[in-house]
Amino acid sequence: MDKYVCQLCGYVYDPMLGDPDSGIAPGTPFESLPENWVCPICGASKDDFQKE
């Protein structure tokens, strides 16, 4: 599973960790994140992420 980097603030989405504060369980691949998921640091949308 690939990590993805937010192009706006530099936050790295690590699928092993998920994003529990936004209800995303550890082990969730980036591709499976809901389309309305946003970067927990800066609010950027999935479109603003690139593969690390």
Partner: protein
Amino acid sequence: MTFAIKNNISWVGKIDWELRKFHGEEYSTHHGSSYNSYLIRDEKTVLIDTVWGKFSNEFVENLQKEVNLDQIDFIIINHAESDHSGSLPELMRHIPDTPIYCTSSGIDIINGHYHKDWNFNPVKTGDKLNLGSKDIVFIEAKMLHWPDSMMSYLTKDNILFSNDAFGQHLASELMYNDLVDQCELFREAIKYYANILTPFSSLVDKKIREVLALNVPVDMICPSHGVLWRKDPLQIVTKYAQWASGQAENQITVAYDSMWEGTRHMAEAIVQGISKEDPSVGVKLFNIARSDKNDLITEIFRSKAILIGSPTINNGILSSVAAILEEIKGLRFKNKKAAAFGCYGWSGESVRIISERLTESGFSLLNAGLKEKWSPGSEAIEHCLRFGQEVALQVKGP
């Protein structure tokens, strides 16, 4: 100095007339700036933002002339950067238990700066603070331009306290957009956008659409720097939407540095070639080392294409050129074209290095660049003229 904006709303900030550099030495402020703080008196009294810490004594003394500090019921910190939160320690020394409303990220940042156990109340988009006859509605604006940034909207008076968004570094006793020199105002507004907000343009676009979709009346926009937008306040929102779209003006900026004038001669010939091919395109020429960095960034922001020139030194490029390329990379410009040029004596790496950095920074290269050996003679100048003409043709498009 304080003044009434409307009903029971007062400006209680600080005009910084002598400021010439902001963010340390990072941002030039030819016209000074102001740190805008606002006091709203309804059944409850609320203070929105403070001013830079170096003015904290003046700020608190000034505020005391306007209101008994014990009567302040709430403090809103729209953004925790030092120029807006810096007077909190002095203010809180007088009123240590007053609740502070900010985003959860704002709490982290304030704690990270001042390390005090204040009465924090985190807020999110849509949360309301009732002042009696009116409400404050909070709108988060993450990364516009820090993770904690937010705006506060005052109902009934229809005022958006936008913090750094829509601000300008402009000191003026006149304090309203319709009273100041319009050229100065918009020059400072675009400079602010270009130098601070460019990397977050996709968020700016999204946020503007979100705020407009709320369909609430906006009679005034009160930013945290510069003058207040009261005449046609949405004009600056329209400008931001245009700037965020990445649509450039019909302009090409040529910027270079030079040691023994060779690269300067190249730059001047390139500019002539551009103008000859397309007299309608605005073309601007700057010596990077001798120009104000932030003004140059603003010209790059306005341009469809940029040409960057450096001679080769020690198998590399001049440090002034490296510095502006670093700045350009961080600002993540979109939809811009670029090319490199420069003269050299023996190794000649500068054009390749500049081209690589421009590519890394998201610019699409117009060509492989132009390098000329030693000081350009008439044949080399002819190459430069042609280079300029070709660039102008490509930028103009079919």
